[in-house]
């Protein structure tokens, strides 16, 4: 019974909590800009409002445009259920292989890029082109930074990685830090954050993610926004629980899970703060400087791997 309850928590936590953290990042950014800012629960209200609205679909759109939001959203649900959030007891989940995770993300990127092309607006096309360029170059850094952890843990299962990293000594932690830097760059790229993309812009010269979803409205836009929030939280969780997994529950005890939840919340908040500070203090990079950054991510993870082996 208890196991079923924590299973349900594991599956539901990412989609339920994800809009909150988007709200928190926005709030922190607002504070930096000397604004009051919207409530941290605003993203929930936005979603609700979007679900309530009627929808306009372009006459040029095919079934891909209509189908893509469901795929993208479902993939974030599947991934959200198979990563270590507060406990590592779900080791037997066959989806928790890190390569599977990377390829599932690729699947969702593939569909969102197709949806961007589908309506035939110039914005959508350029958004897709930029998204696929960045995604192709991010994959190396993402795979290799997680690979460094897999080598340290002798397993590519995310839960086992989390378990193993929590018990290593501080000295062998240096390569993990390098891998974390690499992961951080890949994360900012995958979640369409500064300096890769500006989640708050609709300026045609710079937007990537927003350009692809420009034609969406109503429930489909809600799904895509929600999926983007999920993806953001998934990457924050991976960053927190794979690289700094201290405090994560391994025993399934009630107390230890409650503690793990609090520590999880704390770690995510710190990462949110970091993202918000980053977004308030640097500007978006020029598109053709981004490959350099992604290459740095790749090199950092290779250095991490060579230190671990």
């Amino acid at each position: 019974m208890w196991f079923i309850i924590i299973c349900i928590i594991q599956i539901m936590l990412i989609p339920v909590a994800s809009p909150l953290f988007i709200g928190i990042v926005r709030k922190i950014k607002a504070v930096f800009q000397n604004r009051v800012g919207a409530s941290i629960f605003q993203p929930y209200k936005d979603l609700r409002k979007l679900f309530d609205k009627d929808e306009i679909i372009s006459a040029d759109a095919s079934w891909i445009f209509k189908f893509a939001p469901y795929v993208i959203f479902s993939i974030t649900i599947i991934i959200g259920a198979s990563i270590p959030i507060f406990s590592t007891v779900f080791k037997d989940n066959p989806l928790s292989d890190f390569l599977t995770l990377v390829y599932l993300i690729a699947l969702s990127t593939f569909f969102i890029a197709l949806a961007g092309l589908d309506v035939g607006s110039a914005f959508g096309g350029f958004g897709s082109s930029r998204e696929m360029t960045i995604a192709a170059l991010t994959e190396g850094g993402l795979i290799f930074s997680l690979l460094a952890l897999a080598f340290e843990a002798h397993s590519s299962n995310l839960f086992i990685i989390s378990d193993a990293i929590s018990s290593i000594s501080l000295i062998s932690f240096i390569p993990i830090l390098l891998a974390f830097l690499a992961f951080l760059i890949a994360m900012l790229s995958e979640t369409a954050r500064y300096p890769f993309d500006n989640p708050a812009t609709h300026l045609e010269l710079t937007m990537i993610h927003e350009a692809m979803i420009l034609e969406y409205s109503g429930k489909r836009l809600a799904l895509i926004e929600w999926a983007a929030a999920n993806k953001f939280l998934i990457f924050l969780t991976l960053g927190a629980n794979l690289f700094f997994p201290w405090g994560i529950d391994t025993t399934m005890g009630f107390i230890s899970i409650v503690i793990a939840m609090f520590i999880f919340l704390l770690k995510i908040l710190i990462l949110c703060l970091f993202v918000a500070v980053l977004e308030s203090s640097i500007s978006k990079f020029r598109f053709f400087r981004l490959p350099d950054l992604l290459f740095i991510s790749f090199i950092l993870s290779i250095i991490a791997i060579s230190l671990i082996l």
């Binding site: 679900f51 609205k53 009627d54 929808e55 306009i56 679909i57 372009s58 006459a59 040029d60 095919s62 079934w63 469901y70 795929v71 479902s74 649900i77 599947i78 066959p94 989806l95 292989d97 390569l99 599977t100 390829y103 599932l104 690729a106 699947l107 990127t109 593939f110 197709l114 092309l117 035939g120 607006s121 110039a122 096309g125 350029f126 897709s128 082109s129 696929m132 360029t133 995604a135 192709a136 170059l137 994959e139 190396g140 795979i143 290799f144 690979l147 897999a150 080598f151 002798h154 397993s155 590519s156 299962n157 420009l214 109503g218 429930k219 799904l223 053709f288 490959p291 791997i305 082996l309």
Partner: protein
């Protein structure tokens, strides 16, 4: 014994039927319809027999060999069909079966234009040649059937001979394939020199006589010879020209199957016939794999001829296969046989997968071409509304080749990754870096391939039509759709049941004498695949089921929640202008940023041709030509050409054109010869 008889008989019946199909369709040449129907139907039946024969070998282990002695010395028509051969016969027959079904409908647009008898003849002989290439066990016989395969495919490349470009492509193919064959012949002659036989079995037994340098020489000769056929960079230049020129169902066979015969022979020679490969062989193969995969996909991105794009992807996938194969060679030379088995399975699995999805993509491209009569992606657009089924099948192919779960490309790429990871984990520093480099290239390749297929699918099927032809396209005929549907279903089935197929391929690998060991580093069953050291675990059926389940659940949940909302059909936001087909992104535009990022390798060029009105101030026309400069042309073929021109320049000096001088040459030679005899 019973099964051996079945497979033997089926094999020969299949060969016979291909021959009957070939000559039959030539006989009916006068009647286009009959000729087409006869040639393809016989090919279909023959392929079914081929599949039965190979499956019986694969499942019941009924390997057989058969030999017909001929009156000529050194030549004997000997077949040896072990599991490795059977595996490739299976791939040949499978793709041949689907292509032939497709061909019945596809060849219709050649009626009254080209000779259908010739098409049927060369088509059947071509498949026959491939079947024999992967089953012959005598070098002489092998060379004959290899030539048969190459020549018939040449005739198929130049089949649409009214287009000048096809003839040029054919000539290039003809030259390159024969350069390859020359290297292969040299390799076999060297083997004959030291072992005294052309029979693969005897060569294998006497291989100990081979001195070290001969071994290395044979390695290079065979690598270049078979690599030319497989399309490894830099010997690939014929591939992106020849494959698009052939009729689409033949392109499917050439890209899906023919280039794999090169892989087959590499495995046969390096792993079966010649034991004890030094480690650097594997390193060389691995590096070639890296270069081919990355450059293949980069050049594919620059293409906007749909079939050329697919052809470049064949080079990329051959690269991925070689990554697995090279890793296997390295593990084997370090005596880590269990790991070598894993890597070889990854390579073979990818060989099967690539055959299936590449054939699917070529058939899909053919279906589009048969409607729009152009290969230029820029003239497509919006075809998903006119050809919904073709679009769906092409999408599945595109997802499979981009290695997206749950389709078949995903598993083999996953396994190749794992083999490379194992190499990084277990090997010592020097070789480790090669593996890191290889895994890095594979990651980059995977990402770029996805980008390229978003481009190919998006520009072809999505948005609005960009030409009149695209606007008037209709869904293609039933036989074309059956062909594509079969392969699309196979993409899913092979992907989902990969655990089971790994078991079959494991038997294939066990069939090689060097890998006849029982300990393997993974356990695999219908629903999962797990490394015994628990490094990685995957279950494609689970991925598939959870995807289907969650997508369905989300769909119905959202539907229930929002069923009262109206959906209006509107126009795409156009900033107040009149939106037309020219305002959406093109394939060139899509890949522009990637080309710019990789401009160090791709060297994009831009030519601006401006025509002015009389005064020279106002432009009449402005043409921009964008292209790329191929590195292998600049750094490989061009220097060779320069070298030969220089040599020819020196030799030219003795050619004065004066008859007296030539008489003098003859006289001098005569004197020299006489002296030679006297001394």
């Amino acid at each position: 014994m019973f099964y051996a008889n079945i497979s033997l008989n089926c094999f020969f019946i299949s060969l016979l039927l291909f021959a009957v199909g070939a000559f039959g369709s030539l006989t009916f040449n006068r009647n286009d319809r009959l000729s087409n129907l006869f040639g393809n139907s016989l090919a279909i039946i023959a392929s079914i027999f081929g599949i039965i024969s190979s499956l019986s070998v694969l499942i019941f282990d009924s390997a057989f060999s058969y030999s017909i002695n001929s009156s000529l010395p050194l030549l004997s028509l000997s077949f040896n069909i072990d599991r490795l051969s059977a595996f490739f016969i299976f791939i040949v027959s499978l793709i041949a079966l689907v292509s032939s079904v497709y061909g019945i409908g596809y060849a219709k647009h050649y009626y009254k234009q080209y000779s259908l008898g010739a098409l049927g003849f060369f088509y059947n002989i071509f498949i026959l040649g491939m079947m024999l290439v992967v089953s012959s066990s005598n070098a002489m016989f092998f060379l004959i059937v290899w030539e048969t395969m190459s020549l018939t495919s040449y005739f198929l490349v130049v089949f649409e001979n009214r287009e000048k470009n096809n003839i040029k492509a054919g000539s290039l193919y003809f030259i390159m394939t024969h350069i390859g064959t020359a290297f292969i012949m040299l390799a076999f002659f060297l083997l004959y020199q030291y072992t005294g036989s052309f029979d693969f079995g005897i060569i294998k037994n006497n291989i100990g006589n081979l001195p070290l340098f001969a071994k290395d020489a044979i390695f290079f000769l065979a690598l270049i010879g078979f690599g030319t056929k497989a399309g490894i960079i830099p010997f690939h230049i014929w591939l992106p020209k020849a494959h698009p020129a052939a009729p689409s169902h033949v392109s499917a066979l050439m890209s899906g199957v023919m280039i794999k015969t090169g892989i087959y022979m590499m495995i046969r020679i390096f792993m079966d016939i010649m034991p004890d490969a030094p480690i650097w062989w594997g390193v060389v193969v691995l590096i070639i794999g890296c270069v081919s995969s990355v450059l293949g996909v980069l050049y594919a991105l620059t293409e906007h001829d749909i079939k050329k794009l697919l052809a470049y992807h064949s080079i990329e996938n051959i690269g991925i296969i070689l990554l697995g194969f090279g890793a296997s060679l390295i593990f084997w030379s370090l005596d880590m046989k269990p790991l070598a088995i894993t890597a070889l399975i990854a390579a073979l699995f990818h060989t099967l997968n690539h055959a299936v999805f590449k054939a699917l993509l070529f058939l899909g491209a053919g279906s589009v071409i048969s409607q729009t009569h152009t290969r230029n992606i820029e003239n497509y657009g919006g075809l998903i509304k006119y050809m919904p089924q073709t679009a769906f099948f092409f999408l599945i192919g595109a997802m499979a080749i981009s290695a997206l779960p749950p389709f078949n490309g995903f598993f083999s790429e996953w396994m190749t990754f794992q083999s490379l990871f194992t190499g990084i984990r277990t090997l010592n520093t020097g070789v480790q870096w090669v593996f890191i480099f290889a895994a890095g290239s594979l990651a980059l390749t995977g990402g770029l391939a996805a980008a390229c297929f978003v481009k190919a699918f998006g520009a072809t099927f999505l948005a609005r039509p960009r030409s009149k032809e695209a606007k008037h396209a209709k869904e293609s005929g039933i036989s074309l759709r059956i062909g594509m549907a079969t392969l699309a279903i196979l993409c899913l089935i092979i992907g989902v049941f990969s655990g089971f197929i790994v078991k079959i391929i494991l038997d294939v690998v066990h069939g090689l004498s060097i890998f006849n060991i029982s300990n393997i580093p993974f356990s695999s069953n219908l629903c999962s695949f797990r490394f015994t050291d628990d490094f990685a675990f995957i279950s494609v059926p689970f991925i598939f089921i959870s995807l289907v389940l969650i997508v369905t659940l989300t769909f119905f949940a959202i539907h229930l929640l929002t069923k009262n909302r109206k959906v209006t059909i509107g126009r795409t936001w156009d900033c107040g202008s009149d939106l037309n087909g020219r305002m959406e992104i093109t394939a060139t535009g899509f890949s522009k940023s990637i080309i710019r990022i990789f401009q160090g390798i791709l060297r994009p060029t831009k030519q601006n041709l401006i025509e002015y009105h009389g005064s020279g101030y106002f432009q009449k026309t402005n043409t921009v030509k964008m292209g790329i400069k191929d590195v292998y042309h600049t750094f490989f073929y061009y220097p060779i050409q320069e070298f030969f021109l220089k040599i020819s320049g020196y030799i030219k000096k003795i050619q004065s054109g004066n008859t007296n001088v030539y008489v003098l040459y003859i006289f001098l030679i005569l004197v020299a010869l006489l002296l030679l005899i006297v001394i």
